[in-house]
Each structure stands twice: as C-alpha cells, then as structure tokens.
C-alpha cells in the first residue's frame, strides 16, 4: 500500500475570541485580547488571587438546545459545537460511518459535572445526583458525544496529556488515517475548567498571572514582565481526511497534516526540563518524520504560555532542535490573545498553524513590549509576518504537565 497522506479539509472552534474559527482568526489578526473579568460573587466567595480569565465568547446555550445543555458537561458542549462546525466547513463529507473516526483530547474533562454533582450529593442527597453524572464527568465524554452526534464508528479516542492533549489528539487522528483505520477523522481538543477549584489549584502553584489591574496585558509570552499564564476555555476541531478521499469529493484543502513528534521529559511532574532536551526531540522527530529539512520550516506556533520558566525552556528547546536554522522560523505566541486553553490549546494552535500556512500569514503576538534577552528567537511582534511562496511548512508545539511534549508539522499543498 502506498503511503496515505492526510490533509485538513474543515475547521471549527468556539473560543475566548469568538464563536467560530473565522471570528477567532480575525481576533488574532486584530490583536484582540480574550481576557474578561471573572464574576464578582466567585471572587468574593473564594477570595481568589486571580480576577480574570479568557472565558468563552459565545455561551453554548446560544447554539445548542436546552436538552443538549442539560445532558452534556460544558466541555462536551464546546466539543460538539466545534465538531459540528468543522464538519460543515468541510462540506459535510459523508463517509461510510465505519470509516469516520473521532479523537478529542481534554486536560481535565468534566470537572464542572463532577463538582456540581458532589455538591448535590452533600446538600440534597443521593436521589438528587443526576443519573448522567458519570457519563458527563468522564474524560471521554467529549469524544463519545461527538461520535454519537456524527454517527462516527471507526473509533472514538481521547488523549489526556494535560496541555498537550489537543495536539496529541490530532496526531491520533493522523495516525488513524495513515494506518488505514479511517478515511475521515474529526480531531481536536476541548476544555471547560473555569471552576474555582481550577483557579485555586493553578494559583497555588503560582502558575497564573495576577495582573488584575491590567487584564488585557496579562498574557505576555516572552516579555520580561510576564508573571504566569491566563486561563482560557473552549474547543477547536479539525477534519482530517485521507488525501485521495478529499480529492475525489472535490474538497477544499487548507493544508497537509505533515506529521507528529512526541516525547516525554521524565524530569519533573510540572517543571519543563530547562535545556529542552525532550521538547527538542519531539520537534526533530516531527520534522524528520515529515521528510523535511530544517530550512523547510518557515514558522513556529509556540506553546509560549507566558510563564517565566516555561517560555525560556521552550526557546532553548527550539534552538537546541534547529540551531542557526531557527533564525528563519518566525515564532507566533497566540496565547497572548486567546489565553491558555489547557487541553484545547494544542488543538486551537494547530488550527491557527493551518490557517497561517493557508493564508501565508503568521500572526504577531501582543504584549511583547520588552523581549526577554534569554529568548533567542524571532518572535513576531507588531506586524504580522508574510510567509514565503512555494512549498512551506510550519511547526506547532504543545507541552503538558507530566512532561509531555508534542510537535505537529503542517505543510502547504
């Protein structure tokens, strides 16, 4: 069997910048911040040190029915909205259901359901625990619901690797098609973790920005004034399709999904390995498996969460992976606008990388006023960068607590 190529034919998302991927991309190009204040009552009740987050722009109740809202955790609601939009964007392909797959990652899963139902049990008793509590809180609730919605029967997978989950799921979808298990896979990530416990937990780790008086400038990757990430939520999904299958139905092809590289640090449960050995191995693996030379990579969408340690570790890893060739890889840090969507981050940034290659435009980061001298990268600021004509490729990095490193390669077609 000749090598099966995988292309991207549909995109869908609901994010802090908009209810669609088009609005999200426009927001990124406009340099808009998705940061919004958190509800007063939540802040008062729990005395949270963080007063803001990149909450979702369009409430799911504007898109889904009342019954869908009741029967799905918010994380699954976001995933279903993004998956449906991605399939429509792909021209509603109707493959044999047994050739249609799903891969949706999440960092935390149904945390709202878990804790709401725990509150019900304690305050009202066992009879008031919702019978759908378990299928709503399980981490595979999103892939299960998307599979159900689309009638996808080739397999429904859930990758869980913290903030690398969304990127890893796209790799899972890519491998499903390469291995011949499916012709079309709906792949992405979702997260709905704006629960006080998540703010409390991340805040206790000192991982979140506390720039409460200037929230739109809080997410500032690579800037010397960065003080932690800004929590985000939402979902992003792409339709991956076997190239001949896409061609046969005359589908619009955004880009080719070139490969995935993965590694684990085995260094610390949360801290990145400072020299970036593991992360650079994932990047090298992705480029080599895509059959590319370093000079073919003309753009990187970095993980760049705006934490003091993580941003420098990633910069070191990029240099370690590509040496002088990294000078020719302008870097986007889109979390400066979207915030950090945790388990959906790698998926959203995967979509933004696809759009960057498709439109040959790499978006500028906002809030990088004073580039950290320890970051030896061509970080795009001010003007967006026009990418070259001809065959190009771009890299998307995602890393997660647990030491997970994932790098994706996207190629022009």
């Amino acid at each position: 069997m000749s090598e099966r190529r995988v292309v991207v034919t549909g995109l869908g998302a609901t994010t802090p910048l908009g209810g669609t991927i088009a609005e999200t991309w426009d927001g990124v190009l406009a340099g808009r911040s998705g940061a919004k204040p958190l509800p007063e009552d939540m802040l008062e009740r729990y005395e949270l040190p963080v007063h803001f987050a990149c909450t979702i722009a369009v409430d799911p109740s504007e898109v889904l029915s009342k019954v869908q809202i009741r029967r799905m955790d918010p994380s699954a609601q976001y995933a279903v909205i993004a998956a449906q939009a991605a399939m429509e964007d792909a021209g509603s392909p109707e493959p044999d259901p047994e050739r249609l797959g799903v891969a949706i990652g999440t960092g935390i899963g149904g945390v709202w359901t878990l804790l709401d139902q725990w509150d019900n049990l304690r305050e009202k008793g066992v009879r008031r625990v919702f019978p759908l509590a378990v299928p709503m809180l399980m981490p595979n609730t999103s892939s299960g619901n998307v599979s159900l919605l689309l009638g996808a029967r080739a397999g429904a997978h859930t990758t869980v690797s913290a903030c690398a989950s969304g990127a890893e799921s796209m790799g899972t979808g890519y491998e499903m098609i390469r291995q011949g298990r499916a012709d079309v896979v709906v792949a992405g990530g979702t997260e709905a973790a704006m629960h006080p416990i998540c703010f409390a937990g991340f805040a206790q780790m000192q991982a979140l920005s506390t720039r409460n008086d200037d929230i739109e400038h809080a997410s500032r990757p690579y800037d010397t004034g960065r003080d932690g990430f800004v929590m985000g939520e939402g979902a992003a999904v792409m339709v991956l399709e076997e190239y001949e299958h896409a061609k046969a139905r005359g589908a619009r092809i955004y880009a080719e999904f070139g490969s995935i590289g993965m590694s684990a640090d085995a260094h610390h449960i949360t801290a990145p390995e400072p020299e970036g050995a593991g992360a650079s191995r994932a990047m090298r693996e992705a480029v080599e498996r895509a059959g590319l030379a370093d000079s073919d990579i003309v753009h990187i969408n970095a993980h760049a969460t705006s934490t003091p340690v993580g941003d420098v570790a990633e910069a070191n890893a990029i240099r370690r992976a590509f040496g002088a060739a990294a000078d020719g890889m302008p870097v986007s840090a889109t979390k400066s606008m979207t915030g950090h969507l945790l388990g959906a981050a790698g998926a959203l940034e995967g979509l933004l990388t696809v759009l960057a290659v498709h439109h040959r435009t790499a978006p500028a980061a906002i809030n990088v006023e004073d580039l950290d001298s320890k970051v030896d990268l061509d970080v795009i600021r001010g003007e967006h960068r026009t990418l070259p004509d001809g065959d190009i490729a771009a890299l998307n990095n995602s890393f997660g607590f647990g030491g997970h490193n994932v790098a994706l390669v996207v190629k022009s077609v």
């Binding site: 029915s65 009342k66 019954v67 009741r70 009879r127 008031r128 919702f130 019978p131 759908l132």
Partner: protein, 81 residues
C-alpha cells in the same frame, strides 16, 4: 392535592425539560419507552423531578411498573401528600 389533569400537565413539563419532547405528546396511553423513546437514565431524572414537584416518593422498585404515562399519573395521584 393535584388532580389528574394537573399531574399530567406537570409531568409533561418535566418530560419536556428532560427530553425536549413536545408536552402535547405526553398522553395517558403513551409508553415511556416504546412511544416516547425515554431511556432508563432519563426516566430516573423524570421520577426524581416528579417526586419533588408532587411531594411523593416513588421507590426504585415501583419505577419499573410505570410503563405508561397513565401509570405514573395514577401512582402519583394515589400516593401524593
């Protein structure tokens, strides 16, 4: 005490909220599973909400005997308050 018609329309509201079914579909002779396509998980939610609304206790053992909407209405009518 709610009369039969009040119980039926109250139950129809609960079914609508849980499943999205048109309340007009919820009639005395309809089977929850065969006609209204209500699965056992939805049935549990409907039962708990009906208990709260009408002040009755419907034991789990009793739920399996409630085949039709009419069965439920009658049970609630005979056991309320």
């Amino acid at each position: 005490m709610a009369d039969q018609q009040e119980i039926l329309s109250g139950l129809a509201e609960i079914v609508n909220e849980e499943t999205g079914l048109d309340p007009a579909e919820v009639q005395m002779d309809k089977s929850f599973t065969d006609d209204l396509d209500i699965d056992s998980l939805s049935m549990m939610t409907i039962v708990v909400n009906a208990e709260e609304k009408f002040g009755v206790r419907i034991p789990d053992d009793e739920v399996k005997n409630l085949t039709t909407v009419g069965d439920a209405v009658t049970y609630i009518q005979n056991n309320q308050g």
